[in-house]
Symmetry: C3
Subunit: 135 residues, 3 copies
C-alpha cells in the first residue's frame, strides 16, 4: 500500500495511521509519503499542537475529539509509530515541500520519518502497490 | 474498484455514487467503504438533510444545487441505490467509526449498507481492485 | 498513472501537476480527468485568477503563496502544460460536470484538454494504471 499523506487535519491523519496500522498488522508493506499540509503536520514543533478538524465538519469537532479521548485512542502519530514498530512501514518526507516550507533537514521532523525523497522516487516505489491512495 | 468514502459533503458523495454507477454499469465489481464523515452522512436521520458543499467552494453552492436540480439528478444516495440494483456493488460501514459516533448497529444506517467491517477486512477485499480511491 | 482531479484549490492542483510531471519525466503514461471543482478551475476565464488555498489551512495561505513565488515555481497549469510537452500525458474533461456547469464545449477550457469524456470512458483507461488517485 502506498499513501500520499497530503492533508494536515486530524480527521485525515487518523485514516493514514489506521490504514497503515491495519495493513502492517496483516503483513503488507506500507509506504507513506508526507507532502504539503501532511508534511507541515509532522514538523516536530507542530506534532503535539491541538489537532485540527476539516473546516467542512467543524460543527462536529468537539464531539469527535471527545469521542477519540473516551475511546482511549492514541494520537494519530503514536498510532503510526506503533505501526512502524509492528510491521513493514516506511515513512518519507517530500523534498519539494521541505524546500517550500524552508525545512532544512529531517531533524526538524517527527522521528518516524525514514528519508526525504522526491516525488519521482516515491512513485517508483508506489508503482508495485496493490492499493494507492491520496489522503 | 474499491472506494474509501471518507467525506460527507455532497460534492464528494456524488463522485462516489457516479463512479460506483459507471463501474457497475460496465460490469465491474465495486466495493465502497463508508468511514468518518462518509459514515456520518449515511445515518438514516441525516440522509435526507440538505446536502453540504465543501467549505472551499461554498460560494458556488447555491448555483451547483440549482444545476443538480435542473438536470433532474437523483440525490447521491439514490444513485448509489440504483447502482446496487443494477450491478455488483457492495457497501460497507467502518466499525471503528461506528464506535466513535456511538452507532450501535447497521439498523441506524441507510438500508444499502451490506455489512459493518473493520479496515483490515476492507483492505483484504481492496487489494485485488484495479482502481483504489480515497474520496 | 490515472488521476481524478476533483479539487479546485491550488494546494491540490499543484500535486496533480507535480505528480503528472514526475511520472511523465520517468516515461509513464499519465491520464488526468478533471471533474467538479477541478473542471471549474480549468475554465479559460478562471485559469489566471488568484489561486485559492484549502479553507482548512487558510492561515498559511499568504506564506505558501510567497514561498511558491520565491521558488520561481510556475503556476500549476503551466507545469501541467510542460508535462504534456515532455511526455505522455492526456488530459480529459468530465462531460457530466460540463453539463452541470453549462459549459458548451472544450473551447471554453484550457487548451491542454485533449478530450471531453464520460466517467465510464475514463475508468476504462484507468483500469490498467499502476497508480490511481482521487485528488
Amino acid at each position: 500500500m502506498a499513501i500520499i499523506a497530503w492533508s494536515g487535519t486530524a480527521d485525515k491523519l487518523y485514516p493514514v495511521a489506521i490504514l497503515a496500522s491495519a495493513a502492517a498488522a496483516t503483513g503488507w508493506e506500507v509506504e507513506v509519503f508526507f507532502t504539503f499540509w501532511g508534511l507541515n503536520a509532522i514538523r516536530k514543533e507542530l506534532l503535539n499542537t491541538p489537532p485540527k478538524i476539516s473546516a467542512d465538519f467543524s460543527e462536529y469537532a468537539p464531539a469527535v475529539m471527545e469521542a477519540i479521548k473516551k475511546m482511549n485512542y492514541l494520537p494519530w502519530h503514536e498510532l503510526l509509530r506503533q505501526a512502524k514498530a509492528m510491521g513493514n512501514v516506511k515513512v518519507y518526507a517530500c523534498s519539494t515541500t521541505m524546500e517550500m516550507f524552508s525545512i532544512k533537514d529531517k531533524s526538524a521532523l517527527a522521528d518516524f520519518v525514514d528519508d526525504v525523497v522526491g516525488v519521482a522516487t516515491f512513485l517508483e516505489r508506489a508503482k508495485d502497490a496493490a492499493v494507492t491512495l491520496f489522503i
